[in-house]
């Protein structure tokens, strides 16, 4: 049975990658299981300077999901390269550095720094709903998606994945813009902007007022968007949004994803990504799949 997939020349032993912001830089979960079992890890978003993130509370449980507003808290790219990258280099896992910023120069700076590491890929976050400047601002309009992608691609010495926001008019147009800008792949969806209210205090539960919705409640939105993008672009798609099981992985691949990211599930259960990897071959057997690559985009519409 084959579970290996390839994206932009990078080989993954299985299509399961942990999503940015839900897995730190890998050390914490490596205490529960050897993270080399995973196909890949996408790091916590790193920025040019260290960031403190938003005020607390930063999380709220909502029906079948959760809202978060961490706000890109991270030690900065220099500390990441020095202190966190060496651990990941020792692991038999595809490392994807997730980069973020407030202006073009920030993205270029971090992409250059991340290019000097042994990471195999870079994922550009232009879709964070929880930071005021930059973040999602770059990811809303197709022109700006294309522009920032082209500029980062010029300095980026690794395959570049552009992470797309669902909070836009037409995600497929933005995916096309990323492709036109030179992206090697797109990942989607980032979180859906939402809000939770305490009716007794009449205040938002999150200190940041709004946050990003994730978990099983967004899965149908994500599946729909992955399929819309699959039908418009040629570059590979990494699908994410509420993946909780190997069955979910297969559904995303049928919709058009070459690989997937597991996010909130890691927060709900520290063993989640590992369990999904272990369930995958069994689930493939149930669905009569011998090679995961055979099902990519195999959705039957008639």
């Amino acid at each position: 049975m084959n579970t290996a997939v390839k994206i932009a020349g990078v080989q993954f032993k299985n299509p399961i990658i942990t999503a940015s912001g839900t897995f730190g830089f890998g050390q914490e979960y490596d205490k529960f299981y050897d993270i080399s079992a995973l196909g890949g890890i996408c790091t916590k978003g790193v920025t040019r300077e260290p960031r403190k993130g938003n005020a607390a509370p930063r999380i709220a449980e909502t029906p079948s999901g959760m809202l978060n507003s961490v706000g890109l808290q991270n030690p900065g790219v220099d500390v990441f390269v020095k202190e966190d990258m060496p651990f990941l280099e020792k692991k038999d896992i595809v490392t994807i550095v997730n980069i973020a910023g407030s202006c073009e120069d920030d993205y270029i700076y971090v992409a250059e720094k991340a290019s000097e590491t042994k990471a195999q890929m870079i994922e550009m976050n232009i879709s964070c709903p929880n930071v005021k400047a930059g973040g999602m601002a770059f990811g809303i309009y197709p022109d700006s998606v294309k522009n920032i992608t082209a500029k980062v691609k010029k300095v980026c010495k690794k395959p570049l994945i552009v992470k797309l926001s669902p909070n836009v008019a037409d995600i497929a147009t933005n995916a096309l813009a990323a492709q036109d800008g030179g992206a090697d792949a797109v990942s989607l969806i980032n979180t859906v902007t939402g809000m939770a209210i305490n009716r007794f205090t009449r205040k938002p539960i999150l200190a940041n007022v709004t946050g990003g919705l994730s978990g099983p409640c967004v899965k149908p939105i994500a599946l729909r968007m992955v399929n819309e993008v699959y039908r418009r672009v040629q570059i590979p798609i990494i699908g994410l949004g509420g993946i909780m099981s190997a069955a979910d992985v297969i559904e995303f691949m049928i919709a058009g994803a070459t690989a997937v990211q597991v996010g909130s599930a890691n927060i709900f259960d520290p063993m989640a990504a590992f369990n999904i990897v272990n369930e995958l071959t069994k689930e493939m057997e149930c669905c009569k799949i011998s090679n995961v690559n055979d099902i990519i985009g195999s959705l039957i519409l008639s």
């Binding site: 839900t22 930063r58 449980e61 959760m66 927060i267």
Partner: protein
């Protein structure tokens, strides 16, 4: 750190809106836990786990105390003997007493008294003085458990319906010169931490508090439970309540 499948052995009400939940591992034994450490409990029907500090421990059985405050704890009340769920433990740093900490004050508010009750088990060879605060008589708990281990146990209620009227910090201040504690360990609501911080500063006593934040993963990865902590150079850093804490030096917390 390990993820355990456990089954409920007891879930009992001990005071108004206050319960004790006891569970055992389905297989094997629990890893050793120390006072002030916590666990992440999966509540059937909810996605995010909820963090609870250790109240009672042995390798075959763990008890946590919980106040009914929201959707998660309302569901926990319905847990019955034999019900199964997952628990991740041990988490967090826990309280560490130094050799010089001979006389120890345990200062607790409401359900926050529970984690303090395990301190004398982790560190048996000290003298303990406990001050436990509750809203009113119907909510008083942990008194007999504490008085077994402490030289002095004082209970206060906000309205004076049981024990001394007022806050436990006030009851402590009256006796501070007499006790002369080496350290104060605190767990309770934010206003209590603030009052305790003022006392510790005024009397020059070191104090360590257990912080409470809404948590995500509980293992240090998601950065949801950040709390502002003063650093040696005077700057303020966002620390993870779950992995860097939950115990911090009280004077370092930005309250």
């Amino acid at each position: 750190m390990k993820d355990y499948l456990v089954r409920v052995t007891e879930n009992k009400k001990v005071a108004e809106d206050l319960y004790e939940l006891t569970f055992a591992p389905k297989v094997g034994k629990f890893e050793q836990m120390k006072c002030g450490q916590f666990l992440q409990l999966q509540i059937p029907g909810l996605l995010l786990r909820r963090p609870f500090c250790l109240y009672k421990f042995d390798s075959d059985s763990i008890t946590v105390a919980y106040a009914v405050v929201g959707k998660g704890t309302e569901k926990m009340v319905k847990l019955k003997k034999g019900d199964e769920f997952k628990v991740t433990l041990p988490l967090g740093n826990g309280w560490t007493l130094q050799d010089k900490h001979k006389k120890v004050v345990l200062l607790g508010g409401g359900v926050g008294c529970a984690p303090l009750a395990y301190v004398p088990i982790t560190y048996p060879d000290r003298e303990y003085f406990s001050f436990l605060g509750f809203a009113d008589k119907s909510k008083v708990a942990f008194e007999s458990e504490m008085s077994k281990k402490c030289k002095l146990t004082v209970v206060t209620t906000d309205n004076g319906s049981y024990g001394e009227k007022g806050f436990p910090t006030q009851a402590l201040e009256k006796r501070l010169r007499e006790i002369q504690p080496d350290v104060i360990l605190v767990c309770g609501p934010r206003p209590m931490l603030k009052a305790a911080a003022r006392l510790a500063l005024a009397y020059g006593i070191s104090a360590y508090a257990s912080t409470e934040e809404r948590m995500g993963c509980g293992v240090g990865a998601c950065l949801v439970c950040a709390c502002a902590v003063k650093q040696a150079d005077g700057s303020v850093a966002m620390k993870r309540a779950c992995a860097d804490g939950p115990i911090f030096k009280l004077e370092d917390l930005v309250l």
